[in-house]
């Protein structure tokens, strides 16, 4: 394996990866222009978990726009099973934040009606396998209403879905359902990998006049970063280079950004200069940022927890190849979960793509080409 290891981004020196915000600050030439911490009422920097950042985003959205309402299973008194909505019912009252009956199609379907009446519902599916009962409402109505009505009826609905595994969850609690949503025209799908993006992307999702599937990586809920809220990171439709490198581009999102950064760090020790892109926006896909990187490195791999067959990585590999074929020195690899149902806790370590698996995959390329 012969690679050029010149990179001007210092490898992160903590096990926690750099956040989008801090990483952006460290990289000069990313395509997107992010101004962090420019809002007047910015709090002093503090250690903030992703959960707390999401909570604050909801709080600020509720405070700013009286049309924002938050409802779903256990999001009121309990504050959600992951405590993302903690305290909101108390602060804004049960007419803004409330526990709905236990029925996901009902939650999504009533959100359609509420949005038609001018509200901006932020609804929660408790775990992503529990969004499936709402599949018809999401795919046949939420995704299609704007198009069906030639833009006369828009549905500013944000659907929060905790997703992915690595939390020792029992069956149905660790699915990665992003491919179902990304293959549905009309939906916007975003996912943060860090607290700053969690705040910023959620605010932008709620402010969007289009429905947004907002996917929250469960295993990152407790990830902490030092930052000041409110924070505005890169725009919702942009990917971000979170670590620069010149030999390979790793494309990751949500829970696997950390994996990619670890792989990059480990790779650096072997003289491999790995660029890491946090996709952030799964639909639309930021072709510009990704193609620019891949044209430079000539090699890429996409990493996700979901099974490989028909997973989101297929779209990434297919479109990046289509658009950059002559720049590629090797096929784009997919380092993903296996093509099996998400396993029980004792087996998830074997299922999940790890930094080692990423590096193994990179070794499978013929580096002489």
């Amino acid at each position: 394996m012969s690679v050029d290891s010149t990179t001007d981004t210092a490898p992160a020196d903590t096990p926690e990866p750099a956040t989008a915000a801090t990483a952006t600050a460290a990289t000069a030439d990313t395509a997107t222009d992010t101004d962090t911490a420019t809002t007047a009422t910015t709090a002093a920097p503090a250690s903030v978990t992703m959960t707390k950042a999401l909570n604050q985003a909801l709080r600020d959205a509720l405070a700013e726009d009286e049309n924002v309402v938050v409802y779903g299973e256990d999001v009121g008194r309990l504050g959600g099973v992951f405590r993302v909505t903690e305290g909101l019912r108390k602060e804004f009252g049960p007419e803004r934040v409330w526990d709905s009956p236990l029925a996901e199609s009902g939650i999504a379907g009533t959100a359609v009606g509420m949005a038609m009446a001018g509200m901006r519902p932020v609804i929660e599916m408790q775990f992503d396998a529990y969004a499936y009962p709402a599949f018809e409402q999401i795919v046949s109505h939420i995704a299609k209403m704007r198009n069906r009505t030639k833009g006369r009826v828009t549905l500013p609905i944000t659907i929060r879905i905790p997703y992915a595994g690595d939390i020792g969850g029992v069956e149905h609690h660790s699915d990665s359902s992003e491919a179902y949503w990304t293959s549905t025209p009309g939906l916007t799908v975003v996912t943060p990998s860090n607290p700053a993006d969690a705040y910023s992307l959620l605010r932008e999702s709620i402010a969007s006049d289009d429905p947004v599937i907002f996917m929250e990586p469960k295993s990152r809920y407790w990830m902490k970063d030092t930052l000041s809220l409110p924070v505005t990171t890169a725009p919702m439709n942009r990917a971000e280079v979170v670590r620069e490198g010149s030999d390979v581009t790793l494309l990751a999102y949500g829970p696997t950004v950390r994996t990619a950064l670890s792989a990059a760090e480990a790779g650096a020790e072997h003289g491999l200069s790995i660029e890491v892109i946090d996709l952030r926006s799964l639909s639309p896909f930021d072709d510009e940022t990704v193609s620019a990187s891949v044209r430079r490195t000539g090699r890429a791999a996409v990493i996700h927890e979901a099974a490989q067959f028909g997973g989101y990585g297929a779209e990434v590999a297919a479109r990046v190849t289509e658009r950059n074929f002559t720049y590629l020195a090797a096929p784009i690899l997919r380092v993903t979960g296996f093509d099996v149902p998400y396993p029980s806790p004792k087996l998830e370590e074997y299922y999940l793509p790890t930094a080692e698996r990423v590096l193994d995959a990179l070794e499978s390329w013929d580096w002489e080409l």
Binding site: G106, A108, G109, G113, M116, K144, R148, K150, D210
Partner: protein, 367 residues
């Protein structure tokens, strides 16, 4: 045990459908649960509208036989439900209709060509929902019932005095969404009226294979919501029941379930063949319950309607039919690039690329 539960209004609906005007056009003596018969003026208006929508349905069905529309589900026979319920709405209320409810759209004021746009294949929804306070007609069954509940919830939260009305079929009542909508509406006490047009069939499936309940209105009790069963071919009863339920909702007393017994006189859509699953005699049998005939008799007996007025309305109906034919003769222009225009608020780069591809193809085809 110590469970606090409301115990008011816990009863099953009366078995006999509420009705003011019998099939023979004479007043009935059915108990009407506190409802009052609409005024002569209102009834005359309902008569006129039913005649209009029936002519509309007949004309459109005729055009489908000529292959001029891809598909059309007619509500012929169900005019009392369509017109009675929709007329009960005030302009600020919202209607959540299905594919079966073109007659309701017409009653709501949606122009003929905008109603037909979907069926002749121009665009999925041909009218502006905001203008008519009417949701796009839902094709996925029962889904609209939740939209109606949600809209009414927003109306309640915003302190608006607007109620919602949604139609669903006997078949659609079996879908999970119907249950969820009943439940959400009742728990949230939203101003929503659910009107089941029980026309005895879901395509070919008869009611007895759809439900084992004595009546679909019996569902209401399970949600702590009033449920009533109405003769769905008596427009007076439908109008009175829906008006009262809407008012109840606007007063903050929550949703109501109204089951209207009626019959689909035509095939499910023009592509259906009803001889496979029902007898001609059954259809014949239902003719005696015709909603228009009985009201005409009733109003003539009361001296409110005479030959002149009947002829006048018939003439109006012919004008409407002519406008339907005209709408079908005017070939609507479709712009292929509109495929890309409304998918997202801001057109994505990748969609713009695809638009450019299509434009190039179109230019190539022209050249």
């Amino acid at each position: 045990m110590t469970i606090d539960v409301p115990t008011t209004g816990r009863a099953l609906p009366q078995l006999q459908p509420i009705s003011f005007i019998g099939p023979d056009g004479r007043p009935t003596d059915t108990p009407t649960e506190g409802l009052t018969i609409p005024s002569d003026r209102t009834l005359t208006g309902l008569y006129r509208q039913m005649v209009l929508v029936r002519r509309f349905e007949a004309q459109v069905t005729h055009l489908t036989r000529q292959g001029r529309l891809a598909t059309y589900p007619s509500a012929a026979g169900q005019e009392a439900c369509e017109v009675g319920a929709t007329t009960a709405l005030s302009p600020n209320d919202w209607l959540f209709p299905t594919y079966r409810d073109s007659a309701a759209l017409l009653t709501r004021g949606v122009p003929v060509s905008e109603i037909l746009a979907a069926f002749r294949g121009d665009w999925h929804c041909g009218f502006d929902p905001q203008e008519y306070h009417t949701s796009p007609a839902a094709t996925p069954l029962a889904t609209q019932t939740l939209h109606a509940a949600g809209f009414a919830m927003a109306s309640k939260l915003k302190g608006r005095h607007a109620a919602t009305l949604t139609f669903l079929g006997d078949g659609a009542s079996s879908e999970g969404d119907t249950h969820e909508a009943f439940n959400f509406a009742s728990v949230w006490q939203t101003p929503t009226v659910f009107v089941i047009q029980n026309n005895q069939y879901a395509i070919s499936t008869p009611l007895r294979e759809q439900s084992n309940a004595t009546m679909l209105a019996d569902r209401a009790a399970g949600y702590g919501m009033p449920g009533i069963r109405v003769d769905g071919n008596d427009v007076a009863a439908v109008f009175a029941a829906v008006s009262a339920a809407l008012e109840r909702g606007r007063e903050g007393d929550g949703p109501t379930l109204i089951e209207c017994l009626t019959y689909r006189m035509e095939s499910h859509t023009n592509s259906d063949d009803p001889t496979k699953y029902r007898d001609a005699e059954e259809v014949e049998h239902w003719k005696q319950f015709d909603p228009i005939d009985r009201l005409e008799t009733f109003l003539r007996d009361r001296g409110v309607l005479d030959d002149d007025r009947v002829a006048e309305i018939a003439a109006e109906a012919e004008t409407l039919a002519a406008s339907v034919r005209e709408a079908m003769n005017t070939e609507a222009e479709v712009d292929p690039t509109e495929l890309f225009a409304f998918v997202y608020g801001t057109e994505r780069t990748s969609l713009s690329e695809q638009r450019a591809q299509l434009e190039a193809e179109l230019a190539g085809a022209e050249a």
